[in-house]
Amino acid sequence: MSEIPGDLKFLSSHEWARLEDDGTVTVGISDHAQDLLGDIVFIELPEVGKEVEAEGDAAIVESVKAASDVYTPISGEIIEVNSALEEQPETVNGSPYDDGWFFKVKPINVDEMSNLLSPEQYSEVCED
């Protein structure tokens, strides 16, 4: 498994969040999650403008094997989605932490980031 970038925070349900310089939060799923799912073949992204609540479902990812909800680690408004994934969902398998991001949230309360797991804590979750 590839190394987890140090600036990421996680939900135990395998989503990552990264606070960007402009104050928005980018969200995706972890390398561990894509490995569990196997080949990803379909992604349903949220609509831009939608309000989401932390730990609520925001997107759907389907691999050949299974369908899975993707939860948002942070509350706010969806301001951008990675629509390239609709045509090339397999990007998530190859680049879960970069090109395979799902959506960006304009957070209501950026302090929610402190509720999330550090890379070390998340790694422990994966080992259980």
């Binding site: 196997g38 073949v41 379909f42 050949v64």
Partner: protein, 349 residues
């Protein structure tokens, strides 16, 4: 957990191993989609040594098999051939699907691994009536070499006598059994031999251009070919009509008695549900259990997946009789249109 003789070889090819009915088996070696294309376009090799092999011996082996098997084994006796069919119970419910091989006068049965115990009980229960012996063969393994280039691979290793076999024919070369059978919808062979020869053959097949293929790709390959999977598409509550397998119930010899015959004869195809293929035009993936509706009734998705070849979702479904070619499926509270088609999504062989 049980391991096949090639367990270490799978690990050395970076296989992801899973528990498959008590066997540790390779689900994929990286990407199940890449492996699927490898079999469709070139050649791949599966270790399917978890499947059960039974040897039926005794003078009455043929009569015995004609009695417990839906298809008529007389068609293959002394012919070096294989025959696909069903084990039926008295109600014509499906106990298992399997292949009977007749090779140099010996009868072998190859069936699913999850049904091993109950099949063995069933075989033994009826063996005494025919004075035959039924033996579970645990010192042999099975490799499936599948794909358009499997012919070249088999020719290189076993010679033209083996590679030129027609579908459902089999042969023995240097103690190794080679049959033109498989469950992928491609040209392909199954190689059955003693465990001690498995690794050598596995390596030779790989050196001849085959790549290892996991059970996940095996599932998408068989689904594209419209082949039923025991436990998903059929079980003892399902009769041959309801899974499109009534063609395996051979009634040509009216004198042949076999288990389930009476119940099967009393059924009317029009009264039973039927097995169809379903194609999803929208994005999304059909999954087992999804409910189907059409103007004449309803149904359910039995197996569903993303078809790597067709690049959209396909499934096998059991529905009430209808001539309609369009229906609806409910996915996450959305009603999506599906097309009803032949389960043979790829009509290759």
């Amino acid at each position: 957990m049980k391991k096949t003789f090639l367990y270490e070889d799978h690990l050395s090819h970076a296989a992801k191993m899973v528990d498959f009915s008590g066997w540790s088996m390779p689900i994929n070696y990286g990407s199940q989609i890449d492996e699927h294309h490898q079999v469709r376009n070139d050649v791949g090799v599966f270790d399917v040594s978890h499947m059960s092999i039974f040897k039926i011996s005794g003078q009455n082996a043929e009569s015995y098999l004609r009695y417990i098997f839906s298809n008529d084994v007389k068609k293959i006796s002394s012919k070096n051939k294989a025959l696909y069919g069903l084990l039926l119970n008295e109600n014509a419910g499906i106990i298992d699907d399997l292949i009977v091989y007749c090779l140099e006068g010996d009868f072998l049965i190859v069936s699913n691994c999850a049904t091993k115990e109950k099949n063995e009980d069933w075989y033994q229960r009826h063996a005494s009536e025919f004075d035959v012996s039924v033996e579970y063969v645990d010192n042999q393994g099975i490799l499936a070499v599948q794909g358009p280039n499997s012919i070249k691979v088999i020719e290189k290793i076993f010679g033209e006598e083996a590679s030129s076999l027609n579908t459902y024919e089999c042969i023995k070369v240097n103690g190794v059994m080679i049959a033109k059978t498989g469950y992928t919808g491609e040209e392909g062979f199954e190689v059955i031999c003693e465990n001690k020869y498995l690794r050598k053959i596995w390596n030779s097949v790989m050196e001849s251009g085959a790549k290892p293929i996991g059970l996940a790709a095996r599932d998408t390959l068989r689904l594209e070919a419209g082949f039923c999977l025991y436990g998903s598409d059929m079980d003892e509550s399902v009769n041959p009509y309801a899974c499109g397998l009534s063609w395996t119930v051979d009634l040509n010899d009216g004198d042949r008695e076999f288990i389930g015959k009476q119940a099967f004869l009393e059924m009317n195809e029009e009264d039973e549900q039927k097995m169809i293929g379903v194609l999803l035009n929208d994005k999304g993936i059909l999954r087992p259990g999804y409910e189907i509706t059409h103007v004449d009734g309803k149904g359910v998705v039995l197996s569903g997946t993303f078809s790597p070849t067709l690049k959209r979702s396909i499934g096998l479904a059991r529905v009430d009789q209808t001539d309609e070619q369009i229906g609806h499926v409910k996915i996450r509270n959305k009603e999506l249109v599906i097309e009803f088609v032949s389960p043979r999504f790829l009509k290759k062989i």
